[in-house]
């Protein structure tokens, strides 16, 4: 199994076959992660760098674990501690890291497109761990894996994405992926939290949970950030929860076996009620976290395969 790409920058550039390749491989890693002996050696001797220009707990930890379990050496570079604080440009940082001969660079950056820019300047593989409001491909892949495991296939599923779609890279990556795998996508939010012409990305637009959640198989809640709650995009957290927060009553609009997802971290009582978030029958939230490691292992593994061959060819010259 090989990917046609050196980098994983977004779901938009993958086709259905490639997505399934990643998911299939990730299935194997789920099993491995549940064994007492979880350490593999596929990436033995390789170096993975987590370069995070934006704070993150779970995504960074997930990548770090994934790389370690494949036997790679990992270092973490945080925006707080490193030289970009001293005014180094993104390109200079890339060139510096490049000179250190690393193999995979996992990058999160607050500006859309920054990861792509960086990827053009380095010889290693780059994985986008979230760029601005653009894409977060590994999140969409782990979400797809979670859905596929519970619902057998994605084709024909009604997947509803609720909340702050406007500022969400998770929503964009998911809309792209779900369309490629034949699911029906809906978004539910007030228009102040919906990007212009979002329907053209391949989704139905709803502004009420009553209609939006009808016949839903999967309900994906998005995080609403604090600074969006104070009157600019929505009037208040109270109003938001009343109309768009997922609780038992609104969950009842969906199919009886509908499952709940959330990319985390949750705002309990804002976009999701604790009662449904913690319902082990319906909530997949912790499962998403578990599968995240497996999906990231699959991505690291697949991306480093051609790299390995290229490296051998270079050495032979």
């Amino acid at each position: 199994m090989l990917l046609e790409h050196r980098h994983l920058l977004g779901i938009a550039e993958l086709n259905a076959g490639e997505i399934n390749t990643i998911l299939d491989l990730a299935e194997n890693y789920i099993e491995m992660n549940r064994e007492p002996q979880r350490k593999g050696n596929r990436l033995k001797g390789r170096t993975v760098v987590n370069l995070f220009f934006e704070v993150s707990t779970r995504t960074r930890a997930s990548f770090e674990l994934a790389a370690m379990r494949l036997g790679a050496d990992v270092i973490n570079m945080d925006a707080e501690a490193s030289s970009f604080r001293k005014g180094e440009t993104l390109i200079d940082t890339a060139m510096t890291l490049n000179a250190m001969h690393i193999d995979v660079l996992v990058v999160r950056h607050p500006a859309s497109g920054a990861v792509k820019l960086l990827s053009d300047k380095v010889n290693c593989s780059v994985i986008n761990a979230g760029d601005g409001q653009h894409e977060h491909p590994t999140q969409a892949l782990l979400d797809a894996l979670a859905m596929r495991r519970r619902k057998k296939k994605l084709e024909g599923l009604n997947v509803v994405i609720c909340g702050d779609v406007l500022h969400s890279r998770v929503a964009r990556s998911n809309i792209f992926l779900l369309n490629k795998l034949g699911a029906q996508v809906r978004v539910v939010a007030p228009y102040t939290l919906l990007p212009r012409d979002v329907a053209q990305l391949g989704c139905e637009v709803h502004t009420r949970m009553e209609t939006g959640l009808k016949n839903a198989d999967i309900i994906m809640m998005l995080r609403l950030q604090k600074e969006r709650m104070e009157g600019a995009f929505i009037p208040s957290a109270r109003e938001y929860f009343h109309f768009f927060g997922l609780d038992r009553k609104k969950l009842a609009y969906a199919k009886p076996d509908a499952l709940i997802m959330h990319p985390g971290p949750m705002n309990r009582g804002v976009e999701i009620d604790s009662e449904v978030a913690d319902d082990i029958q319906r909530s997949m939230i912790l499962e998403q976290v578990e599968l995240g490691v497996a999906v990231r292992m699959a991505c690291l593994d697949l991306l480093s395969r051609p790299l390995q061959r290229a490296g051998l060819a270079e050495a032979a010259q």
Binding site: A189, P190, Y191, T192, T207, E230, G231, A232, F233, I234, P235, S236, R238, E239, H242, F243
Partner: protein, 430 residues
Amino acid sequence: MSKNTGRTAYINARLIDPASKLDVKGTLLVEDGLITDLGPNVKPPEGAQVVDVRGACLAPGLVDMQVNTGEPGNEHKENFISLGEAAAAGGVTSVGCLPNTDPLIDNVASVSYIERRARQTKSVKCFPYAALTVGGECKEMTEMGLLAEAGAIGFTNGTRAVSNLKLLRRLLSYARSFDLLVLQPAMHPDLSEGAQMNGGALATHLGLAGLAPEAEPVQVMTDLRMAEASGARLHIGPISMAESADLIRKAKARGLKVTCSTCPQYFTLTENDVGDYRTFTKMMPPLRDDANRRAIAEAVADGTIHAPEDVDGKRLPFPQAAFGIVGLETLLPLSLTLVHEGKMKLPDLLARLTSGPADILRLKAGRLAKGAAADLVIFDTDAPWKILADKLRSKSKNTPYDGFPVMGRVKQTVVDGRSVFTDQAKAQAA
């Protein structure tokens, strides 16, 4: 006269229901506050109280989209009781109450307060608007969804248009999410600041600060473009200029969900009525020239303007030169001038005063139909009389029409089957 059957038959009436285009001589039956039957062949049932209206018009009670209540905060100037009396005398049975009271109606508790006060006001049905932004400041939006659930029929910052376009765009987008109505006055707040009357040669002659003529169309143009961008339901008004009417006419032709209103003074008076500094003619928008007056009359006649209403921005007679005039009691006779001048037919005018505004506000009002609430106005289209300021019921006596001769008089007003106003002249004759 039989009593306590709860049934009333209004006989010998010219029944006009603009929504169904009914205009026929006949009888209308009311029972337990609802219209039970109407038409030319309807007979009064046994035991019903019979009211002979002697050929007068019987139409749905008028719906006035925008009134200032003065309550809470300025009860001494206008309150729900005086408002109810003025409305009843004018044949107005439903009003939308603007939120720019003191305090502003910008939270669920104050909407509930207005609702409760309104229910106690038996002579007119009051429906509250709520503010678009908290405290009327251009910062945070109000809880529009919850406010609508609490009973707010629409959202507006009252006499001051929201001019921060980024904020306005978000407010409209948010309102659209819940399919809510937004009202914007047709006046740019920056351009109208300090203006006393219509800008032009007359203002210059009088030495009064004139309003830049573009202040109204600039705001209308902006609001139309924002309504188009957001897809929200927008109501603009009152408008007073030909240019505004043209802009809205074209926007509607393009399919925009936009409506607008004017006030009788903009199709009955001109800036020349300002005369010798008559402060009663001070209003915003100001009285315009005769070409604009005729254009507004035309726009009401052709349906560009959906609702003439009494609004003025301020019914309260603030010391001497406050903006605004009273209008609830004079709304019908002044609007009837359009019929008497042959500009439009009576049922069409009534549509603008009843089903038109009711539809914009999505109220179950403004119709003569079986099962509808018996909110009725009985009036004589031709009776001549003179408007006298001190005879007006409103606590506010601010009118530029003192001594103004009009034709058409309300004889009786009925709310939920109860008579809330009977013209004294008629009562004595009967």
